[in-house]
Amino acid sequence: MLEQFKKGLHKTREAFKGRLDHLFKKTEITPDFFDELEEVLISADVGVTTSLKLIEELRQRIQEKKIKEGAAAREELKGLLVELLQEGGSSELHFPETPPCVYLILGVNGVGKTTTIAKMAHHYTQKNKKVLLAAGDTFRAAAIDQLSQWSLATGVDLIKHHPGGDPSAVIYDAVNAAVARKSDLLLCDTAGRLHTKSNLLDEIKKMNRTIGKVLPGAPHETLLVLDATTGHNGIAQARIFHEAVPLTGIVLTKLDGTARGGIVIAVKDMTGIPVKLVGTGERKEDLHPFNPLAFADALLT
């Protein structure tokens, strides 16, 4: 798993190989070291508040543990990051004892919701699970076609209505279908929406309620998809979506680019929502469980 994850990050690493060597090869920790570290963290989108907090914490630990060298400081910081990312429980996806399991996928426009669903569908069919998709994005032009094409490519069934229809109605049918067809997993796609549009947040609440009404206890995961290129706005996205419907995890996409996706650290720090999956490309195979250690290591490379 770690290997796969690392392979996904390979391109990024190539592009930035040795970027931080000069910093962590230092044999002495001077005030400059912390300034440069600030640059490293903020440049990785870890966010101002969380970056400063981490540096403060590191400063203390360096003192306490009498750390003298850059390389050891790096290990210490990596440990801090991993701690923060792991705090409060596992990043495993939740499966109920009795199927169907229902996941609701949310996020702003273009972050990779639909593609992530395709990737999950692929992953779980490979594991011999019976997967069903719900075309809950009835708004964006050709969004239903997009998911249809993925359903063909992954060989899973799709419940869809017409463009412009009520997304909750699709979801309602899909949950019922998942029960009737004895599916193991139902993945609900939704239209991209900015967290600043309260009517669209209401729509999500309604979908969430609909799922719970048909199948008490569901959805079993409500995942927010975040694009790794996102800056501080990711914090607002997570906060506000989380207020609308309780989020159980983050899917961090587009880690195959040069963006480091550090904003998930700030999100974890401020909301406690853990990262569960990462996307590293456009193919259906490009989805991996989140690995805090590999992630922290990549961030500091």
Binding site: D45, N109, K197, T229, R260
Partner: protein
């Protein structure tokens, strides 16, 4: 919100410092640290901020600030000026085709909004009496071509597509069709790609070589963080961009990426996407963006919008009422209808500095048709006296109104509460404006 009010923060810093007497250079540096943090929180690239702060320091420690009675505002003014300078002073337009047809090629990362932007740009051109042809050259993303066809239908702009043929073939044939069909612009939607994907970047270079586009525009998501510089730099180095389009500005992002992109590519930002609707597409104004990055709201856009829909006479009258707090339910209804023409209320509220907190109570006041109809029914079920003097609305009157309008007492209560909140909000906006010392003529700030 972490983003709220750099200007307030600065004023606070200076107020504290002032208590101890004369301001020193050190004090100004403390203020500049606040500025630096604000810019970083707005996602301006770290290196860009670094360069900017050194030029700011030079200016800010000058006598201007030290002597000023309002040093906070002085600092803001200087920062704002520097940001505008960096962002390009004036608005930059799309090039006109000298030998039509010519191509405008949209490029960018996955999910940045190219397809929607292509349709918006085409609609914008059409409105300006051009004859655009949309070209579907995203052969990779499932249903991207279908998406463009749907958007073409919505905007009534013809779309050229040729399945999954090589983009070169598609564009070549699109040019033929554009010639025979008398089109002047080809708006080419390309597939999203990573700037480090050599193969796909080469595909764009080839398109550039073969077709010499009039414009190559990088489409950038306004929510992008620090990586914006890498993306803009790579695309620019490989393709020679002529401009940038910033998308998803209707959210609450401060949009520091705009500054980063400009700083590394030196390309002007030409347009901004401000919503999912196809006419939510505006020219880009550097000075407004500078205010937004500083968290000063987007007063200018708001004013323009308000003026676009409001009848001046009426709005002046309303403004007077609002200041004196004699707003009635009749005004309220009128108001709601006009606001509705200006777009989603949330967007507007975000444009007003210092209003985020005050507007929390308005969260439930989204203006869809159904709700508006309900509000209308409720207000119409009020007597004249009730409309003009809402304080008389006791519970038996409220019950009667609910029955008369076919709504519930809760609905009526809610509307009354929202009305009161609106009144309060307006009072705040009123004082906010006065505080700024310039009264805007004919503006109803809502």
């Amino acid at each position: 919100m972490i983003f709220s009010g750099l200007s307030e923060k600065l004023q606070e810093t200076f107020d504290k410092l002032k208590k101890k007497g004369k301001l020193t250079e050190k004090d100004v540096n403390a203020a500049l640290r606040e500025v630096r943090m604000a810019l970083l929180e707005a996602d301006v690239n770290y290196k860009v901020v670094k360069n900017l702060t050194s030029s700011l320091t030079e200016r800010a420690v000058g006598a201007e600030v030290l002597k000023s009675l309002t040093p906070g505002q002085q600092v803001i003014k200087i920062v704002h000026e520097e940001l505008v300078k960096l962002m390009g002073e004036s608005q930059s337009k799309l090039a006109q085709p000298e030998n039509p047809p010519q191509a405008v090629m949209l490029v960018g990362l996955q999910g940045s909004g190219k397809t929607t932007t292509a349709a918006k740009l085409a609609l914008h051109l059409k409105k300006k009496a051009h004859r655009p042809l949309l070209v579907a050259a995203d052969i990779y993303r499932p249903a991207a071509v279908d998406q463009l066809h749907v958007l073409g239908k919505d905007t009534e702009v013809p779309v050229f597509s040729k399945g999954k043929e090589a983009p070169r073939t598609i564009v070549a044939e699109a040019f033929q069709q554009a010639r025979s069909g008398g089109h002047d612009y080809l708006v080419i939607d390309t597939a999203g790609r990573l700037h480090i994907n050599e193969e796909l970047m080469r595909e764009l270079e080839e398109l550039k070589q073969d077709f010499r586009p009039l414009e190559i525009l990088l489409v950038v998501d306004a929510m992008t963080g620090q990586d914006a510089v890498n993306v803009a730099k790579s695309f620019h180095e490989q393709l020679g961009l002529t401009g940038v389009i910033l998308t998803k500005l209707d959210g609450d992002t401060r949009g520091g990426a705009a500054l980063s992109v400009r700083a590394v590519s030196d390309c002007p930002i030409k347009f901004a996407g401000t919503g999912e609707k196809l006419d939510a597409f505006e020219p880009f104004y550097p000075d407004r963006m500078a205010s937004r990055i500083l968290g000063m709201g987007d007063m200018l856009t708001l004013i323009e919008k308000a003026q676009g829909v409001m009848d001046e006479e009426k709005s002046r009258e309303l403004e007077k009422k609002m200041r004196s707090q004699s707003l009635t339910f009749e005004d309220f209804l009128d108001q709601l209808q006009q606001v509705k023409q200006m777009g989603p209320l949330e967007n507007l509220v975000e444009m007003i500095p210092g209003l985020n907190k005050a507007s929390k109570g308005l969260g439930s006041l989204s203006l869809d048709e159904k709700q508006l109809a309900r509000v209308e029914a409720i207000i119409k079920s009020m007597t004249r006296e009730e409309r003009q003097r809402p304080e008389v609305l006791n519970s038996s009157r409220r019950q009667r109104i609910a029955r008369g309008s076919g709504t519930s007492v809760q609905d009526v209560n809610r509307i009354i509460k929202q009305f009161e909140q609106m009144k309060k909000l307006m009072k705040q906006v009123g004082s906010l404006e006065k505080g700024k010392g310039k009264k805007k003529k004919g503006l109803f700030p809502f």
